[in-house]
Structure formats: C-alpha cells, structure tokens
C-alpha cells in the first residue's frame, strides 16, 4: 500500500489531564486513489491527518501507531526530517483559505517560498515557476495575481492559491481538510473539481476530509467513517451507501438530506411525515422591496424589487448563496431593519409604517418571530434556558411565565430539568430547542427560520427539521425558511423562491423547482450541491 496508517492514537494535554482524541485508527490508501474520511465534529478526522503530517497543535501528541508512506516509517521521522516530506511528498489544503495564507506577503512570494525550500527552483527562476504553479490551478492573469495579497482575493481564489502552493512541488499525496467549508456551493464545486482534475492528471493520491457525505460520495473511491476518534466502517461509496454494516454509518446516511425522500425518512426509525396544514389567505405580502447600503458611487443594492406572498399555513423556502440578499430580506420582514423602499403587509395592513426602531412596542410584534442561524450565539450567555424563553412571555404577553415556559419546553421536547442550565451547559441540539421555544413563546403566526440547522451536525439537523415539521402541523404556524441548501429546504417547504444578487430569479412549487428548474441559476445551484445517490435504506 502507498499509505498505511495502523493503530494510530493521538492525545491532547488539557487542564484536566490527557484526553485521547483518536484511538486505534487504521486505514490505507493505494496509489492514485482518493480516500474520503467522513465524520461529524469531534470525530477526530482532522487530528488523524495532522498526525500523519506531524503538525498537531500544541499539546497534541502521537501516542502510538505506525504511519507507513511509500516504504518510509513516518512515525519515526523527526520533525526536521518531516520538513523535507511536507510540501514535497505530502501536501495539505485547509478550510478557511483566506486565513490559511500569510496576510502580509504577496501570494506569489508565498508560493516561491515553498518552491525554494524544496529546491525546485533557483532564485532567478522562482518567479516564473510560481506563476507556472498559479497557471496550473487555472488562475487568470497569474502574472498580475502574483502581486496580490490574500485580502484582495475572494475565498475561491484564495483556495486556488492554497492548492497551487500545495501542489507546487509535485507531491505524491494531497490531504484536503474540509477544503470547501465556508465557500458557496457553486465555488465549492469549482474547487472540488479542480482538486479532482489535478490529482488525477498528476497521478496523485489524495485524502478528502469532510463532514459532508454527499461530497465524499461524489469525489472519493473509498470512504472511512469516523466517530468519536475511532474508525467505525470503511468501504466503497456504493457498498457503504447500499449496505452500511455499522449502525452509526446507517444513521449518518439516513440523516443526510437527499433526493426522493420525505422528512420522516431522515430519522431512525423512519416515520410518517406529519400532515401539512391547509393553506389559507395571504398572511404576509411583500411588495417591491428594496434595500440599499452606502451612498453615491458606493451604493450597494442588497435587495432589489422583491415581491412575494406567504399564505397562512404555508411553508415558503427562500434559497440563495451568501450575499444574495436573503438575510437582509428576512430582517426587513422581521422588522429589525427598514427597507429603502417598498412595503410589507401583514393581513393587508402595512408593517413598514412603523419604523423598525419602534416596532418593539407594536402589538404585531407577537405575530412575527424568528429562529436564528447559530442557536448558541442567539442565546444570552448569562441567561438560563428558562430566562431566555420567559423573556418574550414577560415582555409581549400577559401569560404566566413559569407555566408557559414549561409548556413550551414540552412542545419542543426539552426536558424541564434542563431549563435552569446556561447555554454553554447545553448541547447544540438542546440550544436549538431553546431558541425554537423562545420564538414560539408569543404564539407567532409567521416564523422565519434563518438557516436554523446550518451550525448543526447532520444527525441533529434531522431531528430539528422533524421537530419543526411537527410544530407546524400542531400549531398551524406559517414558515419562511431561509437557507443556502435546496435539499434541506425542499424537505420542509411547499414553495421555493430562489434569490440571486438581490432579485428573485425563480419561484414555484418545491417539487417542480427541484425536478424541473426553469432558471439557469437554479440548475447551477442544484447541480453544484453534491447529494447522495437516490436510495432508500
């Protein structure tokens, strides 16, 4: 085997003593093969890769294990010897590409540093070699980009530079650690295709570390599934997805949104999707909404002539990439921001007549509530769950706060004994439940869900999505679901709006938009999202 990792164990020294991060990890990689390492946060997938490279963070230590790379026992190499391996034999690409580059050094010079370190070029030939490396990752006008600083580049462009830097010395193995996390789906596809193309054309082997099963399924020859620092299953994408042997793998696959399934199929055991409530008259009407920032030549139009209706009982999806204006639109509807022009009507009466700064005292405040993107950040760190949920009850209703808080906790499935905990003492899923309970406290009629599951692992996302579907069926609330992920939105929504650059480019029934998109951009979006094969397990 080209790379063979055996009995790998890594521990970290913490204030509470040694904590094992990875135990008995084993996998292997053949020449020219692409291996996916998949797992949720804390599964130890990145740590395993850092251990191979010997670039563990402070306090991290390789406890045991054999790392054999093309006949070399890397685990016996000193740090000095590893420096000759890193960048020349094995390279790495990281997430958050803009932070991964030295902010005050020209990107061309950073590539030169690597080339010269591994003696791939003379001082005089360095520049042209660096430009060549940049051309190889399809950077336009590399002579010009050579002089750019990272802050002048987009995320996707920065990631190309990081890839150019990693591949500059023709290594034989590339490890990509969540290389597309934080990038938009369309950029994600471009970056992944680039990595796949370059590794294939150079006959390289590669390891793709990701939390996204779909991504691994699309790009990898074999997949290793990790959980809590251990490998639970290894197999080919086909074998793994059609006949997962391990219960955790099965649960993970099941929880990943994919084509052809209902929301109830995400959880184990599968359940019947709850009834969708009857659709009534228009509840909220958005008319020619515009929002601009800045003045004069620097004016940026974030939302441009957006109009749509949401009917009572309906669940509407608002989908787009970052910067498309979907968040600005939702905060205007929530009355946290004022539009530049246009109107928002609730039950036919204008909401925008009352400025956002005074809306806190508007009686209709109770009708409009929101579930935020990052549940932990949306909870006051000094409030217990009980205080967070009771705050809107006290401010907006005349109900008994204690009784109502416990009733809400019951509705969202939060055990009452957890109500006196602070956010940092609760898990991600529990905090999400607190956030939902608080949003429901004033008995709203319209709930905006702003990427409510984006910060959660897929298994918890599955549970939260089902909870939201149940609440909708039970309480008859209307949803506006804002997300970047069409596959997630489809599960919960009747109708979908697709936004691009401040405008709505497509609108229609959820099934129709997914199966037969009319706008070019929707097709790009759908095509870019890697999804699991259409299967039922």
């Amino acid at each position: 085997m080209f790379l063979e990792v055996d009995h790998l164990a890594v521990s970290f020294a913490t204030r509470r003593g040694k904590v094992a991060a990875v135990r008995d990890v084993r996998f292997s990689l053949a020449k020219g093969e692409t291996l996916g390492i998949v797992g949720e946060s804390g599964s130890g997938k990145s740590v395993s890769a850092y251990a191979i490279m010997q670039i563990l963070d402070r306090g991290g230590q390789l406890e045991s294990g054999r790392i054999q790379f093309d006949g070399m026992e890397l685990n016996r190499y000193t740090n000095r010897e590893m420096r000759d391996i890193r960048g020349r034999e094995i390279s790495m690409v990281f997430q958050n590409p803009r932070a991964a580059l030295n902010p005050i050094r020209k990107v061309g010079h950073q590539i030169e540093d690597v080339l010269r370190r591994h003696a791939r070029t003379s001082a005089s030939g360095a520049k042209s070699a660096a430009i060549e490396a940049m051309r190889a990752v399809h950077i336009n006008q590399p002579e010009k980009r050579y002089h750019s600083y990272p802050f002048e580049l987009s995320g996707g462009m920065s990631q190309r530079i990081v890839i150019a830097l990693a591949l500059a010395c023709d290594p034989r193995l590339l490890i990509a650690d969540e290389p597309t996390t934080g990038l938009d789906v369309t950029t994600q596809k471009v970056v992944m295709d680039l990595i796949a193309e370059l590794t294939r054309s150079r006959g390289m082997s590669s390891i793709l570390i990701t939390h996204d099963l779909g991504l691994a399924a699309r790009y990898c020859d074999r997949i290793v599934v990790m959980k809590s620092g251990e490998v639970v299953e290894t197999g080919t994408p086909d074998g793994l997805f059609h006949a997962p042997a391990n219960a955790y793998t099965k649960r993970l696959i099941r929880a990943t949104p994919r084509g052809g399934i209902g929301i109830g199929d995400l959880v184990d055991p599968p359940r019947q999707a709850p009834q969708r409530p009857a659709i009534g008259a228009p509840l909220l009407q958005v008319r020619d909404l515009r929002k601009t920032f800045g003045k004069g030549v620097n004016t940026v139009t974030a939302v441009d002539a957006v109009s749509f209706d949401i009917h009572a009982g309906e669940s509407l999806g608002l989908v787009g990439e970052s910067g498309c204006g979907k968040s600005t639109t939702s905060s205007m509807i929530m009355r946290l921001a004022d539009p530049t022009s246009g109107e928002i009507l609730l039950d036919g009466r204008s909401l925008t007549d009352t400025p956002a700064s005074r809306f806190a005292r508007d009686p209709r405040r109770t009708s409009l509530q929101m579930v935020f993107q990052d549940a932990l950040a949306s909870l006051n760190p000094r409030f217990t769950a009980r205080q967070s949920i009771a705050d809107p009850i006290r401010r907006l209703t005349r109900e008994n706060a204690d009784g109502r808080t416990e009733e809400l906790a019951g509705q969202v499935g939060l055990p009452v004994e957890l109500l006196d905990r602070f956010p940092h003492q609760l898990s991600g899923g529990q905090n999400a439940r607190v956030g939902i309970a608080r949003a429901l406290a004033s008995r709203p009629r319209l709930l905006i869900l702003d990427e409510p599951t984006a910060a959660l692992d897929v298994s918890i996302q599955a549970i939260v999505l089902n909870l939201l579907a149940d609440l909708r069926a039970d309480l008859g609330i209307t949803y506006l679901f804002v997300s970047h992920d069409l596959h997630v939105v489809r599960l919960l929504c009747d109708r979908i709006l697709v936004m691009k650059k401040g405008r709505i480019v497509e609108e229609g029934d959820a099934q129709r938009v997914m199966s037969n998109p009319t706008h070019e951009y929707t097709r790009t979006l759908l095509d870019a999202v890697p999804s699991l094969p259409n299967l039922k397990i």
Binding site: R361, N380, L419
Partner: protein
C-alpha cells in the same frame, strides 16, 4: 457532552456553589492568583484598620530620634523629623487607595456609559465620544494629568479628577468594543424580537455580558492609577506635607538616599510597589478566570 449533562444540578444554590468551585479550581491551579487575592485582602485590611495598627502618631516629630535606621522600636526607621515611618506607611495606605479607587470608579462609570452608548447607537454619539477620547489620548497621559492639576489647582480632589480623566479612555474603549461586537449578535436580535426596548437591551442584555472584561480592565488599571497618583504627589502635586502619602514620602526620602539613609524612600516605595503588584496579579488572575485563552 453527555457527562456534563448528567452532573450539572439545576437548582440555583448549586449554581453559586459551582461558580465558587470554579474560582477555587482556578486559584488552586494558579497559586500566584491565590497570592494576589491574599495580598489584596491584606492591603484592604491595612487601609480599613490602619489607625488601629500603628504604634506611633504618624505626624508626631521627635528631633532626638531623627534619621534612625529600622529597629525593634521603629520597624521602618524614622525620617529626618523623627517621625515613625512604619506608622506613616500604614496610615498612607488609606489615602493612596482612596484616591485611586475614587478615580477609577469615576472613570469607570463615565467611561462605561459613554462607551456603551457610542458602541450601541453609533452615529453622532460615537463620533463625538471618539473625538473626545482621541483628544485625551493625543496627550502623553501623565503629562496631561500634570497640566490638569496645574490648571485646576493643587488639591487632592483635582488629583482624583485628573487621574479619572486619563483613565477614562481605557474604559470607554473597552465598553465600546465589547458592546459593539454584541450589538448585532443573535441574542440581541432575539431580545429585540422579544419586545425589549433599546435601553433595556443595553442595560439588561448587553451590559452584564461586558462586565467580565471590564472587571479585568478595572483591576489592571487600578495599579496604573495608583502609580499615576503617587507620581503626581512625587513631583509635588496634590497631597501636601506633612500628610503621609507614599509618593510624597519617596520624594522626601530621595534626598537622603545619596547619603545612605535608604529606609526613608525604601519602605513607602515598597508599599507602593506591592500594592500595584497585587492589583496587576489580580488582573491577570481575573483574566484567566474570565478568558483562559488570553492567558499571557
């Protein structure tokens, strides 16, 4: 995650106990912080009970016992007028602490209010506050304090005002930054949706969350404020002789150091140093408790 859920008891007294437990844990982990807390307690004790501890009247002169080195009778020796230095150093604690505590309290209240308003509302409030702070910071701060005391008049109150003014920018800046990063955070938006008014959000949701970093700032600045106040009296501003005060005592003793009578300047200087040291250690310790990542 799972074990954390099973251990944390939900009732309120347990929460206090847990907080105490955390503090004990941090102090136990870092004995230096424990020393800082002990020193702090000692200094406060001396400031409060000072008059009960002293063997001599700090103002009583005795020409026959002038310039005596430290002895069993006069632990810190006597000065050129025969006054007991131990008594004077002990008595001075209260005045030195009072000046700096009053100055820092004043700076904290005004600075935090200004900074919070500037951070939350932005706009012209932010511009005006920012200009004011920048103007104060455009001076070397100790020199500005000298100028203020010279202009306002040479009294202890004016020392307090001057020290407060030069401390103000630090609080205003920390408060502004801490409020600003939370102004558009999820929990503040949620508080808006829950029907809270702006003032209520600022006072009940944002401000309590900015207190830990502010506490650290207070503790770190207290030492600096003491040094500044003592520096002002060292150059003859504020406190007048024969009032015992550390800065002025060091200044008086300085003339005798070249002839070998070291104790006149040494003991008040040492008291000053230990006090400032205690506050700085305390600040570092508090920072560890508040944010272990910033450990320096």
């Amino acid at each position: 995650m799972a074990d954390r859920q099973s251990v944390a008891p939900p009732i309120a007294p347990a929460r206090t106990r847990r907080l105490l437990g955390h503090a004990v844990y941090v102090i136990g982990d870092n004995p230096i912080t424990a020393i800082a807390f002990a020193l702090f307690a000692l200094i406060i004790g001396v400031a409060v009970f000072g008059p009960l501890l002293i063997p001599f009247d700090p103002l009583e002169t005795n020409a026959s016992r002038a310039l005596m080195p430290p002895s069993l009778d006069n632990w810190f020796g006597t000065d050129n007028l025969g006054r007991d230095l131990f008594s004077r150093v002990i008595i001075a604690t209260r005045l030195d602490l009072m000046i700096s505590v009053a100055a820092v309290a004043l700076a904290f209240v005004v600075g935090a209010a200004m900074g919070s308003a500037a951070g939350y509302w932005g706009g012209w409030i932010d511009i005006v506050t920012g200009r004011l702070i920048d103007t104060i910071m455009a001076f070397p701060l100790f020199v500005l304090a000298m100028g203020i005391v010279a202009a306002l008049g040479n009294t202890v109150e004016n020392i307090i005002y001057a020290t407060a003014i030069i401390n103000l920018p630090f609080y205003a800046r920390v408060a502004r930054a801490e409020v600003r990063i939370r102004r558009d955070s999820g929990f503040v938006q949620a508080a808006r949706l829950s029907g809270n008014s702006d003032l209520r959000i600022l006072a009940l949701h944002i401000f309590p969350n900015t207190l830990p970093p502010m506490m650290v700032q207070i503790s770190l600045n207290m030492g600096w404020a003491i040094l500044n106040a003592a520096g002002l009296s060292f150059i003859g501003l504020g406190v007048r002789p024969p009032t015992p005060e550390w800065g002025i005592m060091v200044a008086e003793g300085a003339n005798f150091v070249v002839s070998g009578e070291w104790w006149l300047a040494f003991f008040p200087g040492l008291a000053l140093m230990i006090t400032v040291f205690a506050f700085n250690l305390l600040g570092d310790g508090l920072r560890d408790i508040v944010d272990p990542r910033q450990r320096t």
